[in-house]
Structure formats: structure tokens, C-alpha cells
């Protein structure tokens, strides 16, 4: 360190950099979404099993029921949020070229947000009873 900075703690340079930015937020949201998904996955699988052999009208009416519609929306949001956070870590581990990593991270986020919105749109459309 050059003389004028001798009395400054290295902390000054660290603030706002690296993990100091977000701390444990990623970890926490990953766990919260995991807990939500634990219940929602069991619910969704149960719903699907109950729909085996159902015809189109029944399947549609089931998804259109307000309780199912809301829970399915919650499932989509939790799933894509959790998937984005999870894939982010996978990319951080394997893609080391900074430019490429940035692009891939952005693409994964765009894909997760778009897919979640498309799924929510489909559920709202079904629940609002818009005919095909």
C-alpha cells in the first residue's frame, strides 16, 4: 500500500465488493423456495395423479378452480425462482470466462422469467374461462 493510504483499513476497499454485496440472501431464498416446493411438488403430483383418465373439460375445470389456480401459480413461481437460483450456482461453478458467464446467466434468467410468465398466463386464461 502506498504511504497516503497507510492508515486506511483494507476493509474500505472490500466494502461493496464480492460476497459483501448480498451476503446470504441467495442461500436463504434457495432454502425458502425449497421448503415451498416440498409442499407444492407433493400437491402437484397428487393433482396430476387424480387427473389420470380425465377428459379435457374435467382437466380444464380442475385447473380453473380458484384454489388450484392459485396453488399452481405459486408452484410455478417457486419452481422457476428455485431453478434460476440453482442454475446460477451451476453456471458459476463451470463457466469461467467472465463475458460468457454473464451472457449465460442472463439467458437463464430471461428463460426462467419468460417461462414463469407464460405458465401464469396459461393458468389465468384457463381460470378466467376464456374459451379456446
Amino acid at each position: 500500500m502506498s504511504t497516503p493510504n497507510r492508515l486506511r483499513s483494507p476493509l474500505k476497499r472490500a466494502i461493496g465488493l464480492g460476497s459483501a454485496k448480498y451476503g446470504t440472501q441467495h442461500f436463504v431464498v434457495q432454502r425458502i423456495s425449497a421448503v415451498a416446493l416440498f409442499f407444492l411438488v407433493i400437491y402437484v403430483v397428487g393433482l396430476l395423479v387424480s387427473l389420470v383418465g380425465a377428459d379435457y373439460a374435467t382437466a380444464r375445470a380442475t385447473v380453473a378452480h380458484p384454489c388450484h389456480a392459485v396453488l399452481l401459480c405459486a408452484f410455478l413461481v417457486a419452481m422457476f425462482w428455485h431453478a434460476q437460483l440453482g442454475l446460477q450456482v451451476v453456471i458459476e461453478d463451470y463457466v469461467h470466462a467472465p463475458g460468457l458467464a454473464l451472457v449465460v446467466q442472463m439467458l437463464v434468467r430471461f428463460a426462467c422469467v419468460l417461462a414463469a410468465l407464460a405458465g401464469l398466463f396459461a393458468i389465468v386464461r384457463i381460470a378466467a374461462g376464456a374459451s379456446a
Binding site: 432454502r31 425449497a34 421448503v35 416446493l37 416440498f38 411438488v41 407433493i42 403430483v45 395423479v49 389420470v52 383418465g53 379435457y56 382437466a59 380444464r60 385447473v63 399452481l72 410455478l76 419452481m79 422457476f80 431453478a83 440453482g86 442454475l87 451451476v90 469461467h96 470466462a97 428463460a111 417461462a115 414463469a116 407464460a118 405458465g119 398466463f121 396459461a122 393458468i123 386464461r125 384457463i126 376464456a130 379456446a132
Partner: protein, 131 residues
Amino acid sequence: MPHTARPLSPHLQVYRWQIQMVTSIVHRATGIALAVGSLLVVGALLALASGPESWACVTRHAGAWYGLVFLFGWTWALAYHLLNGVRHLVQDAGFGYAISQFVRNGWLVVFGSFILTAATWGVLAARGVFA
């Protein structure tokens, strides 16, 4: 990667396969597979929203032999990730770290995922998916 010759920590190739690493690797692999599968969930919902014809297309493929094989694999991936996810959460809470416990609950998750998958498909068979 920076092209500096520096010592690297040992990676997969130097380890003997053991349950500790397998459960970890499989959690990641199933997580990635489920993320891809989530797009199919959205596809199915969009098909349901667009009308009987597109929905019939979904059920036809899902009910075909390759669809059933695919759904079976999906069920297992979900069952495994779900159970090992719970294991992760338990570990995050600070439990189950002793080597003997870690190995035991690893096997518990592996066999639990088989049982959960079999149970789900038992119910599905009873409801006539193979009929």
C-alpha cells in the same frame, strides 16, 4: 479459465466413488433435469389453455410408451431431488453430519427415492395409466 499453471484441488477423477459424492452429484444432475422439465410443465399448461386438440396431443405423447418411460424417469428425478433436498435442509439446520450418519441418510435417500417412485407408479397403475 486463467491460463496460469497453478496447483488445482483434486477433482472427480481422483476419487473412489462413494455415496457421499454420488448423492451430491445426482442432486445437481436431477436439479438440472427438473429445470429442463419445468419448461414442459409450462408447455402442457399452454396446451391445456389453447384447446382440446393441443391437449389431446399432450395426453397422446404422455400415454405412449416413450412418454411413460420419460414420465417414470421424471418421477424418480423429482422423488430423489425432493428427498435429498430435505436432507440438505436438515444438514443446513446442523444435523446428520457425522460420517456414519451422512452415509446412512445418503442411502436412505437413494432407497427412499426408489420406494417413492414405485409407490407413485403403483397408484398410477391402479388408476389405469397402462390400460
